[in-house]
């Protein structure tokens, strides 16, 4: 049975994630209007926002510890927040700053936080094999750590995903695969790319449990993920979960969604997992004042990390040559100049932790 404490934690993570995305919209558009220019403004590059996905990140990650590994895809912010990634340094990374999680070398699709074993990457299903590897390491070391690979429903046709299901199953590895089904792979609706409407059915082909949660409901995700994570921790192998979520924004900022029926956009906005969880909390006796308090705290935190990030310096140009290798070759100077420096110390960056 879920505790009210867990429900509150999930709610706080979800409202933090939602407000974070809404505030990033404002920040991202600075300097990019009226004529949209992707390379202008304080946040460079693409930005894939996850508003409408919050229940999945919160409902899964509430069961995870820092030593559990999470890999996330290109739409990662809500998962990172739920996994406890350093939000200040994550935000600085998104702004391309020197004190960002990756010193400005990754950006919003490539966030790495070793303190909580989090990584995300920009190519579809790419994080699945490394999650399997993290689980393999946990099993070899006889720890009860687990790994969770998040992916979108557009990734379930990728070889890397299917190969990972197989390798995880045949070696009974402690992995949970979480498919976030937001109905859209950029402009491609699910029914035009696969005949299998329930992505969790993919598990059948690998003799592993597959569970679909149809309702964008944090409580339901909590229950299913809790079982899957426990199964993995107990050494009973992998599970595939598909969660219905909703894409409340475009594929990326700047996507006019000309391909998407208005009714679908409206429907996505009506099905709000955050409102649903608020109802659950009220039914557990949590008052509106308490919910307001949680929301205010989340908003303050988001404002604080964004202001902090914006004050951070940009990387020095010469840092482009650092970190190619952990042990740079001694003669790097004659080797194209790359990686001439000593391995990085990520210590003094002033983030959350």
């Amino acid at each position: 049975m879920v505790s009210v404490t867990d429900l509150r934690t999930m709610y706080e993570q979800m409202v933090t994630a939602r407000h974070y995305e809404e505030r990033l919209v404002d920040e991202y558009l600075v300097g990019k209007q009226p004529a949209f220019d992707i390379s202008a403004g304080p946040i460079p590059g693409e930005l894939h926002l996850a508003a409408g996905h919050e229940a999945s990140g919160a409902g899964v990650c509430i069961h995870l510890r820092d030593d559990d590994t999470v890999t996330a895809p290109h739409r990662p912010h809500h998962i990172a927040i739920a996994k406890g990634v350093d939000l200040k340094r994550m935000t600085a990374e998104i702004f391309g700053r020197k004190t960002g999680l990756c010193r400005g070398k990754g950006g919003h699709m490539h966030l790495f936080d070793p303190d909580v074993n989090f990584a995300c990457s920009g190519i579809i299903a790419q994080g699945c094999p490394p999650a399997v590897g993290a689980a393999m390491a946990a099993k070899k070391r006889n720890t009860d750590a687990v790994a969770v690979a998040f992916l979108g429903e557009g990734a379930i046709d990728q070889g890397g995903f299917l190969e990972s299901l197989n390798l995880a199953a045949v070696h009974d590895l402690p992995v949970v695969f979480v498919v976030e089904d937001n109905d859209w792979a950029i402009s491609m609706p699910k029914d035009r790319v696969t005949d299998v409407q329930n992505g969790a059915q993919r598990a059948d082909g690998f003799d592993m449990p597959g569970v679909r949660i149809d309702s964008d409901d944090a409580m339901a995700v909590y229950e299913a993920a809790g079982e899957a994570v426990m199964r993995a921790r107990d050494g009973n192998g992998p599970t595939l979960i598909e969660v219905q979520v909703h894409r409340r924004m475009g594929h990326f900022m700047g996507d006019a969604e000309g391909y998407r029926p208005e009714a679908d956009i409206d429907r996505a906005k009506q099905r709000d997992s955050i409102e649903r969880l608020a109802e659950d909390l009220r039914s557990h006796g949590v008052t509106d004042d308490e919910l307001d308090e949680i929301r205010e705290r989340a908003h303050e935190r988001v404002e604080e990390v964004i202001s902090w990030a914006k004050e951070q310096p940009e990387p020095d140009p010469e840092e482009a040559y650092e970190n190619v290798f952990t042990n740079p070759p001694a003669q790097a100077a004659t080797d194209g100049g790359a990686a001439a420096d000593a391995p990085g110390d990520a210590g003094e960056t002033g983030g959350d932790n």
Partner: protein, 346 residues
């Protein structure tokens, strides 16, 4: 723990001669005994012992947990090696033929090679990707490539190409202990397989104890004053044979084995070119946009005034053909090397 790099001549004086495959396996076994975080996975590496004998005997000593046969699923298991390495283990993952890279290159060059950089150095990927390379046994275009240049071109991977048993062992110790991803490319023809006889040369004296060979140190296999021959892998031995023929004609060729492409020992090449003024680069990879062009470019950047003539021999931009007459035509042979050196010497 590690001993210093040894002089090649000293090593050849040891009584015990090993094939390249035995030397490579000896280093892997030593590291696995010393460090429980080291494990090997690949296709047919356990019971079979590796199609090219890269893991012979390891299963018996270390068991299936540490010598893992995996599904034919390179994306999954090479990517899993990345994940295990990022978790701090030291996986060795074998890509049976380098030609198979196409089915798993995303994990290799986007994750394995880039995650250290893209994480700003907060993650390391201490893994070794072992892979068999090369032709000369008529296996055609999908099983005969070396692709040296492809891997050396993409930043973030150290690339190692041993040509002797002594180097194979020392470079393997270095590769496993390195905190970065190392692509260890072993030439099938050099492994000492009963069913694919090696030329004389790769079987060398090998010390029993462990030793490392630092990356980025080319080996001058034969000093000479007239023409510099820079090469790697199988063609080190072809170049040495050519040099002996040329010596009979009074042409003194210097033969340099690069041993590692990343990092590349530019200085040894430049020192030689400054002495001879004439450079031949021999490679079993495709000619255009590859190793030969890179070496010539570095020689031109660093010693242009000393250079009077340059030639290169490589696969002439065709896929590797099947029939003997066709493959022999495109893969630089000893006579081709000798002829090219003579031309440079004129």
């Amino acid at each position: 723990m590690a001993t210093e790099s040894r002089d090649y001549t000293e090593a050849t004086e040891t009584d015990r001669e090993l094939t390249m495959s035995r030397a490579m396996v000896e280093a892997i076994a030593w590291e696995m005994r010393e460090n429980e975080e080291v494990f090997y996975m690949g296709e047919d590496v356990a019971d079979y012992g590796g199609i090219f004998s890269s893991t012979t005997g390891l299963l018996d000593e270390f068991g299936r947990d540490r010598v893992m046969d995996v599904p034919i699923s390179e994306t999954a298991y090479l990517g899993a090696a990345v994940g295990a390495a990022q978790a701090g283990m030291r996986p060795i993952a074998e890509l049976m033929f380098v030609d198979f890279f196409g089915v798993a290159m995303d994990q290799i060059y986007n994750n394995m090679a880039k995650n250290t950089y893209m994480s700003g150095g907060s993650f390391s990927v201490p893994m070794v990707l072992t892979t068999a390379v090369g032709g000369t046994y008529n296996d055609a275009g999908q099983h005969s490539q070396t692709l040296y240049g492809t891997f050396a071109h993409l930043p973030g991977m150290k690339v190692v190409v041993p040509s002797t048993a002594y180097d194979a062992k020392g470079l393997m110790h270095s590769a496993i202990r390195d905190d970065d991803p190392v692509v260890y490319m072993f030439h099938k023809r050099l492994m000492g397989l009963g069913w694919m006889p090696s030329p004389p040369g790769p079987k060398t004296g090998v010390p029993k104890e462990d030793y490392t060979i630092p990356f980025g140190e080319a080996d001058v296999k034969r000093p000479g004053d007239d023409v510099t021959v820079v090469t790697l892998g199988l063609h080190v031995h072809r170049a040495m044979e050519a040099a002996e023929q040329l010596d009979d004609d009074g042409i003194d060729a210097e033969v340099i084995d690069l041993r590692t492409l990343v990092p590349l020992d530019t200085e040894t090449v430049l020192d030689s070119v400054r002495k001879t003024g004439k450079l031949l680069v021999v490679d079993e990879d495709y000619q255009s946009f590859g190793v030969t062009g890179e070496i010539v470019a570095r020689a031109a950047e660093g010693a242009l005034d000393d250079l009077s003539a340059v030639k290169r021999l490589a696969i002439p931009d065709v896929p590797i053909p099947y029939a003997r007459s066709l493959e022999d035509e495109v893969n630089p042979g000893t006579d081709d090397i000798a002829a090219a050196v003579r031309e440079l010497h004129e």
